[in-house]
């Protein structure tokens, strides 16, 4: 087919070499690779910060963080890194760049040059964030950056401003990336690749891109107001000038809630591909799956104030947000049950990606039902700002989303590198990570039930027990992460070569029709999909 031909002429045109290849890149695969590398680097830093947090919380009393501002900066930096510089670059920038063009049969992205600036903007934003953390006390505001605490009276100095500008750059990157992916998906599908034939991963990226496109600018607006409040004397969030600190919370969460779906929806896409492949079955209820994501994305825009139940909103407003939030359980349930139905009747195999996918389904439901519990404003009185919330969102983000990243990584690393990962080690990695994160985050539910507040560097002695267990879990998890890094190294250093389709009959999407590693240019002759129906 087309691919052999492209492979033969692999570097027929200006295949750039050396540093220019990366710095000036207009190639979706190279850019995707850079995103993934950045994500791993940020994961190491953000993970190290979280381990420091857990070491501090391992015992009551002050362990080694005597400067509580530093503790708050750790929490803030950890969250920003993980959310904006680990998960988003890995899934949206990394896998999105690599596999959307491959899966829809396009030769590259719609705007390759813009694609490049999207990546380097994140890199610059990462540097700004790290500078921010280490200037004059750093931003000890939490990732929610609530004023007045983030205002200039309480955070003088450049740290918060640097953080704001870092988010501005990361946001600009996301908006450009979103435009790029949407246009690619709408405009560059191969002949016959109709919307309703697109692999679900492409659908997931499409929905995510729309969430980014419409949510990030609202954060940008809020950040701009915060910046002018801090530096130019405006009063958006300043009570003394007639402003309103709660306005920030609305703007932040109007962005923030879609943001959490930005984090998980590409994961839904990855899991769909993996489950279908290793069940050797097409996805069950494909259309329902696609439109469930659309619906989740849509409703995701009208539930934001469930993060503000204790801010003093009136009861009727909260009642609305309770109802709207609960509704999201329905399309999410459709996804869970459709995955199970896809596996039902399949001929299941369990290489590492499938293990991660199964772990995802189970643990995402765990995190999902605690979310549904939190949605009840009346009960949230007991849980808001406690470790119950921390447990909830780590189940959906640090566990579910990260499991899906690993699933995608093992699923596609053969395609990306041309090398087989060490299979047994990968399974060990799964089990260590799986056990580690559960030991780490499950006890946090108990701490939250018992009333332990979040964002504190020390706690009343009676909370010690489960904190200790949680910290042990963090250590297990970080060892598993070291193992992961070793696996990456092993794959590149000594992995066997893999064929174009390493997964066999279940892998029906287009990326498995091109060589491994995928050549520099692919689909230069557009695959004709008018006869095959890949997704159904």
């Amino acid at each position: 087919m087309a691919n052999e031909a492209t492979a033969a002429h692999g570097s027929h045109d200006h295949h750039p070499h050396g540093w220019r290849r990366w710095l000036y890149s207009t190639n979706h695969k190279d850019i995707g690779t850079m995103y993934i590398i950045l994500s791993i680097v940020a994961a190491i830093i953000g993970g190290a910060m979280s381990v420091l947090i857990r070491l501090e919380l391992m015992y009551p009393g002050i362990q080694f963080i005597t400067d509580f501002q530093f503790y708050n900066v750790l929490v803030t930096g950890h969250a920003f890194l993980m959310v904006f510089f680990v998960v988003m670059p890995a899934m949206f920038g990394g896998f999105g760049n690599w596999f959307v063009p491959l899966m829809i049969g396009a030769p590259d992205m719609a705007f390759p040059r813009m694609n490049n600036i999207s990546f380097w903007l994140v890199a610059a934003a990462l540097v700004l964030l790290l500078i921010s953390a280490f200037t004059q006390g750093g931003p000890g505001t939490g990732w929610t950056v609530y004023p007045p605490l983030s205002n200039v009276e309480y955070h003088p100095g450049p740290a918060v401003d640097l953080g704001i500008l870092s988010l501005h750059l990361a946001g600009a990157s996301s908006i450009l990336g979103a435009i790029n992916l949407i246009v690619t998906i709408f405009n560059m599908r191969a002949p016959g690749m109709t919307m309703h034939r697109m692999p679900l991963f492409v659908w997931s990226i499409l929905v995510t891109a729309f969430l980014l496109l419409l949510a990030i600018p609202v954060l940008a607006g809020g950040l701009t107001m915060l910046l002018t409040d801090r530096n130019f004397g405006t009063s958006f969030f300043e009570t003394s000038g007639g402003g309103d600190p709660i306005l920030w919370q609305h703007l932040f969460w109007f962005f923030g809630h879609p943001e959490v779906y930005i984090i998980i929806i590409p994961g839904f896409g990855i899991i769909s591909q993996v489950i279908s492949t290793f069940s050797k079955k097409p996805i069950f209820g494909y259309l329902g799956m696609a439109y469930a994501m659309v619906f989740i994305g849509f409703v995701g825009f009208v539930v934001w104030a469930h993060h503000m139940y204790t801010a003093g909103l009136d009861a009727d407003t909260r009642a609305y947000f309770v109802a709207a939030t609960l509704v999201i359980a329905v399309p999410t349930g459709v996804k869970i049950f459709s995955w199970l139905a896809t596996m039902w009747g399949g001929s299941l195999e369990f290489p590492a990606p499938m293990l991660f996918a199964c772990g995802f389904i189970f643990l995402f439901v765990m995190g999902g039902v605690t979310g549904v519990a939190l949605a009840n404003s009346g009960m949230d009185l007991a849980w808001h700002d406690t470790y119950f919330v921390v447990a909830h969102f780590h189940y959906v983000m640090a566990i579910a989303a990260v499991l899906s990243i690993f699933a995608g990584f093992y699923y596609w690393i053969g395609k990306m590198s041309g090398r087989q990962y060490p299979k047994t080690l990968a399974k060990i990695h799964f089990w260590m990570f799986f056990i580690g994160v559960n030991v780490l985050f499950f006890p946090q539910h108990f701490l939250g039930m018992a009333g332990m507040p979040r964002r504190i560097p020390d706690y009343p002695d009676n909370y010690w027990g489960w904190n200790y267990v949680s910290s042990i879990g963090a250590l297990i998890t970080s060892i598993s992460t070291v193992l992961f890094l070793f696996i990456v190294w092993r794959t590149f250093a000594a992995g066997d070569k893999v064929p174009a389709n390493q997964w066999g009959e279940g892998a029906t999407t287009l990326e498995w029709t091109v060589d491994s590693p995928a050549p520099f240019h692919t689909h230069e002759v557009l695959p004709d999909m008018t006869v095959q129906a890949p997704a159904e």
Binding site: P107, D108, I182, G221, T224, G233, T234, G243, H250
Partner: protein, 270 residues
Amino acid sequence: MASGEKTHPFHMVEPSKWPVVGVLGAFITAIGAVWYMQGGANWVLLAGLAVLFYCMYGWWREVVHEANNGADHTEVVRHGLRMGMVLFIASEVMFFFAFFWAFFNATVPMLSKAAHTVWPPEGVIPLDPFGLPFINTIILLSSGVTVTYAHHMLKLNNHARCADGLFLTVALGLIFTCAQAYEYAHATFGFTDGIYSSTFYLATGFHGFHVIVGTLFLGVCYWRCKLGHFTPEQHVGFEAAAWYWHFVDVVWLFLFGCVYWWGGLGYMHG
């Protein structure tokens, strides 16, 4: 599939230095802005902005070359470019959404306990909406007409008339900006005078900024029109500029209706 022969309608862009130049500019601008806001000198900021402008110039020049070489901007690619512009405008709409939210948060008690029951707040003398702002509305609306006129002329392949239309549009844009500057200079409330000023200046200020960007964009189109870059079929750059201009126009109508007129009612009656 001989080498170099393209078998698809898409644009495989050559590697380019402009993105990293742009990021460098953005990074220096960010650092410079923080330094400046912390009371430092402003030359880092200015240097960063200079690099950014250099990037824009170089990048867009590249794009213009590609648009003119007759090969890269196929029908499909142009379709994609138009789509991209629409999406970009959608994100811009959400950016203004935030500022309108701030405005209504301060004025509509249903939205916030901190909303002011008297608006404009006591002591603020708002601008008369039917003075300069109204004239500005007319200016912007007419500029919408002139840009549509230019578009029609372009479709009729009448480049001279098209350029005339664009010239008028740019001129109207400039007049609008001057009028806005005059209005700012003569307003009775300063930039830092509380929430009224904050919402007013940032909402209208960002709009003004978009007017300037749109004027530049149309200016480039004027110049390209003169140079004969556009054909009745192929003029994505023009369309993008025109859409952007209409978007700026619509934002103004909302600003005029909500901030100037509705937001001033409390004063006139009270």
